[in-house]
């Protein structure tokens, strides 16, 4: 990749992918045998995990499971903005 997308763009991609994952999850709860939907879920779920890992590396973790990818000496969870704050959304 020539240039890393900025924080806002990257967060927006994570929001869109995550929405697809959540909406498909609800659909699968009432249609657990829909193989096409399971494949769709798997595709977007792995995209989401990758995007969360890349975000943590660049801008700090959004989830506790990606906190290890943020190469900071300080515990960045307390420093990065919360989503209702300026710069967090």
């Amino acid at each position: 990749m020539s240039s890393q997308p900025n924080r806002k763009e990257m967060l927006s991609i994570i929001n869109e992918i995550s929405f697809t994952v959540v909406d498909t999850q609800l659909y699968l709860d009432t249609h657990p045998c829909d193989n096409e939907a399971i494949a769709y879920f798997e595709q977007f779920s792995s995209m989401r995990n990758q995007a969360l890992k890349e975000f943590a590396e660049c801008y700090g973790p959004l989830t506790i499971d990606t906190a290890v990818y943020a190469c900071n000496e300080r515990w960045s969870w307390v420093n990065d903005p919360w989503p209702w704050q300026e710069g967090g959304c």
Partner: protein, 198 residues
């Protein structure tokens, strides 16, 4: 068990404070058809739900409602952020301000405190699903009412997202009711309570 994700389900970025709007929108935090009530309702009902698809759905929608509560709180917070006591008073926010300053506290637009009396957890799958279907429609009407009063596009946008989710949840709960009835005697759905009778 829950994990926190440090993002909103849908972004909330409001540049223009408006405490009069906050006073209305807070009802979807702590009002009778708000997101806190929705989450508590579904997360309470799931323990006695005997059908695995529906137990999963109550858990997952109950979880999504927490994310919606967070969005509503972010909207109210951004609409009241940085305002003086005089500005809050002018916007009709003095009654709330005197007890809670600019903090988030679950109340209806009328000022009434959030109460568990807003929800039901009946322990009968058919009854609980009807409660849930009604709850989604009541929340959808509340969002429609809010949208008639809101002109700021930065506020309308996340409210429209939340309204849309009520319709999706209603659809999924409708499918759940069908799953429940498919497991029961079609000649008499009420012959016994599958969550209680052996």
């Amino acid at each position: 068990m829950w994990n926190y994700e440090k993002r909103l389900q849908y972004p909330v970025k409001i540049s223009q404070p408006n405490a009069a709007l906050a006073k209305i929108i807070i009802t979807q935090f702590g009002g009778p058809d708000g997101e806190l009530a929705a989450s508590m309702r579904y997360l309470a009902q799931r323990y006695t739900m005997p059908y695995k698809e529906v137990t999963a759905l109550l858990t997952d929608i109950g979880t999504e409602e927490l994310a919606h509560m967070e969005m509503i709180c972010a909207i109210v917070h951004q609409l009241t952020r940085g305002l003086s006591a005089e500005e809050l008073e002018k916007a009709g926010f003095a009654d709330y301000y005197v007890d809670h300053t600019a903090a988030l506290w679950p109340a209806a637009a009328s000022g009434a405190a959030w109460t568990a009396a807003y929800i039901q957890s009946k322990g009968d799958p058919i009854t609980d699903l009807h409660e849930d279907l009604a709850a989604e429609q009541k929340a959808r009407t509340t969002y429609d009412n809010i949208l008639r009063l809101v002109k700021d596009p930065e506020v309308c946008d996340p409210i429209r997202f939340l309204r849309q989710r009520e319709i999706v949840h209603y659809q999924r709960f409708g499918e759940s009711l069908r799953i429940i009835q498919d497991n029961l005697d079609a000649n008499n759905f009420y012959a016994f309570n599958p969550a209680f009778d052996k």
